[in-house]
Subunit: 217 residues, 2 copies
């Protein structure tokens, strides 16, 4: 790009005129903004304010030397179904995203990982939420005790990447973050999308990270 | 599965006790339900009520015999960015999903397609919305005039599947529905996930559909 993005996209960008809170629930927080459209007219935009989240793709090497992924089955009330998902959770205010990923993996599955790699980010619902989900891979897993939140009920299980991809194809996995993780997993697994792994010794404080040379899992 | 799902998942499923509307905005509609958790305790669940949507992956054969996909660039106010996306849109009340896909493709891009294939469905945000997005592929495209809604501003452009996948890897595509479409595209393109195409002659009413033998695009 030779032009600043803001110039190039002037025919698309909307500007905030005012903001008003329209919902402060126990869980949901929504606002309505008045905005100026690219043609100078005005419109309102209603959306959920979200602190952001992380998702973890935990890779486990089984006894036969085959990679498995750690997954969860959880009832999701808004869609009325038990969903197959990768572990994920909301960020605590300004929590570091890797610390959040480590915490959520440990709380929901009990696993602690010695190697981490950030894959990317996804936006689940760009038309009505500020939410983003940071995508992390984890390996070098050691099992431990999980610590579920009060009122949290979920099963933890493992599957091969190939099995997960068949479930995506056949409609048994329909959660968008998990489908996005499957895209990453397929391309990391094939070597097409290499990851940069960070080593975190189990007993080390978070600051002592070591960068591992560029490679795929 | 030998047991009915509801028996197997009793340790996960939540039951509705009551429902209360908490937001009736111009665009967002939210409710708060009191629910009974698997252990018998109660909790509240707040979520957005959504009519459902469709996404279209339009395949265009260019002059050199190379497949291209038709994409959009659109400013998405909640995330404050111009996003690269496949065409998509909300269902009009109980509109047939294929009719909705045909309408959204024509309105947003101007293209009319003679062949359609349903790939699957995704749930963008299972923790706080009922939304689902039905995923359709379209080919046999003829360009025409687009008919954007008032206040809708977006660019239409084409890219190869390979280019789209690089943008997913490099973080230029972060919209979850488009990342999910990229997973489908990669596997349809490789032949791993074949689609069942339906033929719809350009002038035929919707009812006259013809099933095309199983094949990949």
């Amino acid at each position: 790009m030779t032009q600043p993005r803001v110039m190039k996209d002037r025919h698309l960008v909307e500007e905030t005129l005012s903001t008003q809170e329209i919902l402060r629930g126990n869980f949901l927080h929504a606002v309505r903004d008045q905005v100026k459209l690219p043609d100078g007219s005005t419109a309102s935009r209603e959306y959920i304010i979200h602190p952001g989240a992380v998702m973890i793709v935990p890779l486990l090497l089984d006894e036969s030397g085959q990679w498995q992924v750690v997954l969860e089955r959880q009832f999701r009330y808004p869609v009325g179904q038990v969903m197959i998902e990768f572990p994920a959770g909301k960020r605590d205010s300004d929590e570091d995203l890797l610390v959040c990923a480590q915490r959520e993996l440990r709380e929901e599955t009990g696993y602690v990982a010695t190697e981490w790699a950030r894959a990317g980010v996804l936006h689940p619902v760009i038309s009505y939420s500020t939410e983003y989900i940071d995508i992390w891979f984890a390996r070098g897993l050691t099992a431990g005790e999980r610590q579920l939140d009060a009122g949290e009920f979920l099963d933890v299980f493992t599957a091969t990447p190939e099995q997960l991809l068949l479930w995506c194809r056949d409609g048994l996995v329909t959660d968008a973050k998990t489908l996005t993780a499957a895209l990453w997993l397929q391309n990391v697994h094939s070597g097409a999308w290499p990851l940069d792994w960070i080593s975190i010794p189990p007993s080390a404080p978070f600051a002592e990270v070591v960068t591992v040379p560029h490679e795929s899992s």
